[in-house]
C-alpha cells in the first residue's frame, strides 16, 4: 500500500509542478516539491527520491512532448549556441539529461528538506532496509538522524 503512496506522491509532484510552472516562474516547482515533503513526511531517502523522480518525470515528459514535432532539431541548435562554436557541440539529448538531472536534484533536495523540517517521526518505515542501501549513494547517512 505504501509503495502506492510513494508512486502517488511522485505523480502528484510531476503533475502539480507542470501546472504551477504554466502560470508561475520557472522555479515554482520547488514549492510543490517542498510542500509534498512536508505533507507526505516520508523517510528521508524516500522523500528525496519522490522529489527527484517527480520533477524528473515532469522535466522529461514536458520537454520530450515539446520537441516531438521537430525531432530535437531546435534543441540541437540550442546545444550549439551553448557550446559557443565548439567542434563537438552539446547535443540536444545531452541537454535533455542535464536539464532533467539538475531539475530532479533540486526537486529531491526540496522534498527532502520539507520532510526533514517536520520533526515528527517519519510515517514510512516500510522498506527501510532498501532505503538504507539506497542512501549509500548519498553522502548524508539519513539513518543517523532518525
Amino acid at each position: 500500500m505504501k509503495i502506492y503512496s510513494f508512486i502517488i506522491q511522485i505523480i502528484a509532484i510531476a503533475i502539480l509542478s507542470w501546472l504551477i510552472c504554466l502560470i508561475a516562474p520557472w522555479w515554482s516547482f520547488v514549492i510543490i516539491a517542498f510542500l509534498s515533503g512536508l505533507i507526505a513526511n516520508k523517510h528521508g531517502a524516500f522523500s528525496f527520491w519522490a522529489g527527484f523522480l517527480g520533477i524528473g518525470i515532469y522535466y522529461l515528459t514536458s520537454s520530450t512532448f515539446s520537441s516531438k514535432g521537430d525531432g530535437f532539431e531546435f534543441v540541437n541548435q540550442i546545444g550549439k549556441v551553448l557550446s559557443s562554436g565548439a567542434e563537438n557541440p552539446i547535443s540536444g539529448i545531452l541537454l535533455l539529461w542535464v536539464g532533467t538531472i539538475i531539475f530532479a536534484i533540486l526537486g529531491g533536495l526540496f522534498t527532502l528538506s520539507g520532510a526533514l523540517l517536520l520533526s515528527n517521526e517519519p510515517s514510512n518505515k516500510i522498506g527501510s532496509g532498501k532505503a538504507k542501501s539506497r542512501t549509500k549513494g548519498l553522502k548524508l547517512d539519513l539513518k543517523r538522524y532518525q
Binding site: W26, S66, D70, F74, V81, I102, L106, L116, S119, Y145
Partner: protein, 806 residues
C-alpha cells in the same frame, strides 16, 4: 532537533542553488530559466500546421479575426482601422517581437545595454549621427497628423498587449539567451525603425574619400576615377526624355569652396562604417505595360536587396477593414504595408542612391562653445548622452550640434584625428512623416493618389514603381534632394562658407523629381542607377550608382514581348554578369601568353564562359577573384590606411579606364622599382588567382567561393544558414553576394481585371528559430520558386476559399 537542523541546512543550500540558477552571471543568462521545460528553450519549439488557423483577438473597439494561410501569412479582418492596426501590432509582435525591439536598441544606440562594451563604438556612432534625436522629432509629426496618429497609437497598443501576454509565458528565445525582458513598446520605436532604414539606405557618402583622392592625385586623374556620370549610362528616365519644367536656381558656389591644398584637413579616417552594402547591390524594380505582356495588362516586379538576415527583414500580411484592403510586405515594427498592392494599384521600391549626406569642417572659438557658420558665430547646442553598459560602468559624452547637424567626428570619438572636427548634414535628420506615404499608398485608388502619397515622402529617397488596373505604369524617384551647384557635396566643405537656408530647406520640388508616366518603350525600371541623363536641369550626385543590373534589365525588357509571369521570374533570377561580359574581352588578351598549365585551363574556361554565374560553375569564381586581385593591385594607391580613407572607382569605371586609358599612371604599383603597366597588373593578378585556387581548390565552385549566408541578427551561428546554393553576385540582377541578396521577390500581375501577387523571400514569417515557419521559404527562394498570394476580398471570401482548398 538535529533532523530539523539538517532540513534547514538542505533547504538553505537548495534555495541558494535556485538563486544561482535564476541569476544572469556576466553574459551567461539564467540557466534555470533557460533549461525550464515550461519557460526555457523547450517552450520555443513551435511546430504546427497553420493553414486555415483562425484566431480572434479583442482589440480596442471589438473583435478582430486573423486567418493564417499555409505559409503562416496572417490575413487580418477588422471592423475599423484602429482595431486593424492594433491587430497588426499584436500579430507582428507575436512573430517578430525580439527583432522589432532589437532594431530599436541598435537605432537608438543602446546595444551596450544588451551585449556590453563591445557595442559601445557602434552605439556612439548611432547616437552621434542623431538617429534618436531625429526619431524623437519625427514622432511629434507622426502623432500630430490625424492620418498617422491613430495607426501608430493603435499599433503600439497591439504590440503591448502581446508583450503583456508574452511575459506571462512565451518569450522569444533571444531574450532567454541574452537574459533580458522586453520593455513596453513606445510609438517612437516605429519612428526609430524608419530612421534606421534611412541610415541603412542613405547613411553613406564618399566626401572624405573623394577629398583625399582629389588632394592626392589632382583633378585630371580624379575625374577619370570618379566621374559624375558613368561612361555608358542607362538612367531610370530614358536618355533624351525632355523635362518640361522651369528649374529653380542652383545656389552660388562660395568663393572659398575649392580645396586649399595646404590645408591639413584631407586625410580623415572614417572610423566606423557599419552595415555598408557591397557595391553592385541595391534593388531592382520594373513594370511592363500591357503593350508588352501576353495578357495585355501590366506586370509589376520588385526585389529589394538588403542584408540577408534572420529573422527576415520583411513580414508579409493582408490588412482588411472598411476603406482599406491591402496585401504586401512590411517592416516589423511599423504599421501599414511598405511594398504591395490593393484592389486598384500596386507599387514597389528601390533605393535612389542619391547622396543626401554632406560633411563640413568647423571652426570654433577659443572656448569651444561657438562655431562659425555663414560667417556668423553661433553657440553649439549640447546634448549629453549616457550609455548603460552591461557588466561595466556607464559611459557619458556630450555631443555638440550645429544648426545643420551634429559634430560626428572629433577628438572624443576618433582619437587619431587632428583638431579639425567634422559636422554632418543629412536629410534623414529632418523630422519627417514618411509613414504617411505608405499609409496613403495602401489606400490609393489611382495614379493621382499615388503621386499625392509620394508628396509626403522625404528619406530614404526611393524609386517608386507603379501600375494600376487602368493599364497605367509609372516610376518616380521621390525624396528630398538638395539643389546643388556642380560638385557641391562631393567633397568636404567649410561650414563658415555655408548657406544655412540652402542646407536646411533648398530641395528640388517634388513635381520636378525624376518621373515618367506610361513611357513609350512600354516599361519603366530602376536598379539604383543614375536617375536621369545630362538633360536634367539639376546637378545629380550619387553615392554609389549601379550600371550593370539596370542595363541587363533594360536589354531583356526591350527585347521581350508577350511577357508572362514566368518571364518575370526568370528575369528576377537572371545570373548574367555584364561586368564579366565587358571586362573579360579586355583582360584575357593580356594574359594569353601564360605558360602555366593551370593558367591555360582557366583562360580556356573564361574564354568559353557564357557569363552566367550559376552556383555550381567555376568560371565566375576565377573571374571575380581575378577582378579582386586586379583592383587591389591597380588601385593600390587607393588602399585605406589609418591616416586616410580612399575608395576604389566603380568597376564599370575601371573597365572604362582599362579600355580608354591603358597607360593610366595609377596602374603602376607603389613601392617597386619598375614602372608597371596594365599588362603587368593583369598578369600579376592572374598569377595570384592561379595560386589562390591552388590553395583553396574547394572554392572553385562558385557557391563556396562566395558563400552566401543568411545570418541571425544577433550573429548566432546556430540560427543562421551558410553556403546557400544560389547563383548571382553583385552587379547581377540576381544580386546575391555573401551577405546581401533579394530580401523579397514580388511579381504582381494585373491580368483578368484583378490583381494577383506572387512572392518568395529568404526566411519565413516567424522570427522564432524553434518554429517551422522560421526558414520555410529559404529552399524555394534558392531554387527560384514562388508562392501564390491569397488576397481575399473580405472575411467570407477568405473562409470560403479555405474551405474549398481543404
Amino acid at each position: 532537533m538535529t533532523r530539523k537542523l539538517i532540513g534547514v541546512v538542505i533547504f538553505i543550500i537548495s534555495v541558494i542553488f535556485v538563486l544561482i540558477l535564476n541569476s544572469n552571471i556576466g553574459s551567461i543568462p539564467s540557466i534555470g530559466k533557460l533549461l525550464s521545460p515550461s519557460h526555457g528553450f523547450w517552450s520555443n519549439i513551435d511546430i504546427q500546421e497553420n493553414k486555415g488557423k483562425q484566431v480572434e483577438i479583442n482589440a480596442i473597439h471589438g473583435k478582430v479575426t486573423i486567418i493564417y494561410d499555409e505559409n503562416h501569412i496572417p490575413h487580418i479582418f477588422a471592423d475599423n482601422e484602429e482595431d486593424l492596426y492594433y491587430a497588426q501590432g499584436y500579430v507582428m509582435a507575436q512573430d517578430r517581437l525580439w527583432q522589432m525591439e532589437f532594431i530599436t536598441y541598435v537605432a537608438s544606440g543602446r546595444l551596450t545595454e544588451l551585449v556590453g562594451e563591445k557595442a559601445l563604438e557602434l552605439d556612439r556612432y548611432h547616437r552621434r549621427i542623431g538617429l534618436k534625436k531625429s526619431a524623437e522629432e519625427s514622432i511629434a509629426l507622426l502623432t500630430n497628423d490625424p492620418l498617422t496618429k491613430a495607426p501608430i497609437t493603435s499599433f503600439t497598443q497591439g504590440v503591448n498587449a502581446f508583450i503583456k501576454k508574452a511575459k506571462r509565458g512565451y518569450l522569444p528565445i533571444e531574450y532567454k539567451l541574452l537574459g533580458y525582458q522586453p520593455q513596453e513598446w513606445q510609438p517612437i520605436n516605429s519612428a526609430l525603425l524608419l530612421k534606421y532604414m534611412a541610415n541603412d539606405l542613405t547613411g553613406t557618402d564618399n566626401d572624405i574619400e573623394y577629398t583625399n583622392a582629389l588632394k592626392k592625385f589632382g583633378r585630371e586623374i580624379f575625374d577619370i576615377l570618379y566621374p559624375d556620370y558613368p561612361a555608358s549610362p542607362d538612367p531610370i528616365i530614358p536618355i533624351g526624355t525632355p523635362f518640361h519644367f522651369i528649374p529653380l536656381q542652383a545656389p552660388l558656389k562660395p568663393a572659398n569652396a575649392s580645396l586649399n591644398p595646404n590645408e591639413k584637413v584631407a586625410m580623415y579616417k572614417n572610423p566606423i562604417k557599419p552595415f555598408l552594402p557591397q557595391r553592385g547591390l541595391g534593388s531592382n524594380n520594373w513594370v511592363v505595360s500591357g503593350s508588352k505582356t501576353s495578357s495585355g495588362m501590366p506586370i509589376l516586379c520588385n526585389d529589394p536587396h538588403l542584408s540577408l538576415s534572420f529573422p527576415s527583414i520583411w513580414y508579409e500580411m493582408q490588412l482588411n477593414a472598411p476603406g482599406i484592403n491591402v496585401y504586401g510586405v512590411t517592416l516589423p515594427g511599423s504599421p501599414g504595408i511598405v511594398i504591395g498592392y490593393n484592389e486598384h494599384i500596386a507599387w514597389g521600391v528601390t533605393n535612389a542612391g542619391m547622396d543626401v549626406r554632406d560633411w563640413y569642417t568647423v571652426e570654433t572659438d577659443a572656448s569651444n562653445e561657438k562655431y562659425l557658420i555663414g560667417n556668423k558665430w553661433e553657440i553649439f547646442e549640447k546634448i549629453n548622452e549616457t550609455y548603460k553598459v552591461k557588466g561595466s560602468k556607464n559611459h557619458s559624452e556630450t555631443i555638440k550640434w550645429t544648426k545643420i547637424g551634429p559634430i560626428v567626428y572629433d577628438s572624443q570619438f576618433d582619437t587619431k584625428r587632428n583638431k579639425l572636427d567634422l559636422v554632418m548634414s543629412w536629410t534623414a535628420l529632418k523630422p519627417s512623416n514618411d509613414l504617411k506615404t505608405f499609409l496613403l499608398l495602401n489606400k490609393a485608388k489611382n495614379h493621382q493618389d499615388y503621386l499625392k502619397a509620394l508628396d509626403e515622402y522625404w528619406c530614404p529617397g526611393q524609386n517608386f514603381v507603379y501600375a494600376d488596373l487602368e493599364n497605367n505604369i509609372a516610376i518616380k524617384e521621390q525624396g528630398r534632394f538638395w539643389i546643388r551647384y556642380p560638385e557641391q557635396g562631393k567633397f568636404i566643405q567649410n561650414l563658415k562658407d555655408a548657406n544655412v537656408k540652402n542646407i536646411l530647406n533648398y530641395f528640388i520640388p517634388n513635381q520636378q523629381n525624376p518621373y515618367i508616366l506610361n513611357p513609350e518603350r512600354g516599361f519603366a525600371s530602376s536598379a539604383n542607377q543614375i536617375p536621369v541623363d545630362k538633360n536634367y536641369p539639376y546637378y545629380i550626385l550619387g553615392f554609389q550608382y549601379e550600371n550593370y543590373r539596370n542595363r541587363r534589365i533594360n536589354e531583356v525588357l526591350t527585347q521581350s514581348k508577350d511577357i508572362t509571369i514566368d518571364d518575370m521570374k526568370n528575369l528576377q533570377y537572371d545570373n548574367l554578369s555584364i561586368h564579366a561580359r565587358e571586362a573579360l574581352p579586355i583582360m584575357l588578351p593580356f594574359v594569353k601568353n601564360t605558360t602555366n598549365e593551370q593558367g591555360k585551363e582557366i583562360i580556356q574556361k573564361l574564354t568559353k564562359w557564357n557569363y552566367i554565374t550559376n552556383y555550381d560553375s567555376d568560371a565566375p569564381s576565377y573571374f571575380y577573384k581575378w577582378w579582386a586581385y586586379f583592383e587591389t593591385l591597380a588601385w593600390d594607391e587607393l588602399k585605406k590606411t589609418d591616416e586616410a580613407d580612399f575608395i576604389y572607382p566603380e568597376s564599370y569605371t575601371s573597365i572604362n579606364i582599362m579600355k580608354n586609358h591603358p597607360n593610366f599612371p595609377l596602374f603602376d604599383i607603389e613601392g617597386t622599382n619598375k614602372n608597371e603597366t596594365l599588362q603587368d597588373v593583369l598578369n600579376i593578378s592572374f598569377d595570384s588567382t592561379i595560386a589562390y585556387f591552388n590553395r583553396h581548390p574547394e572554392q572553385k565552385e562558385f557557391r563556396f567561393f562566395k558563400n552566401t549566408s543568411i545570418s541571425h541578427l544577433a550573429q548566432i551561428d546556430a540560427f543562421s544558414k551558410k553556403n546557400i546554393k544560389i547563383g548571382g553576385y553583385a552587379g547581377i540582377v540576381n544580386a546575391t553576394s555573401s551577405r546581401w541578396g533579394a530580401s523579397v521577390r514580388l511579381i504582381i500581375d494585373f491580368s483578368n481585371g484583378k490583381i494577383q501577387g506572387y512572392g518568395m523571400y529568404p526566411g519565413g514569417q516567424s522570427g522564432n528559430p524553434g518554429s517551422n515557419a522560421y526558414d520555410t521559404f529559404v529552399e524555394a527562394w534558392t531554387d527560384g520558386k514562388y508562392y501564390r498570394h491569397h488576397f481575399y476580398k473580405n472575411i467570407h471570401d477568405a473562409i470560403n476559399n479555405l474551405k474549398e482548398e481543404k
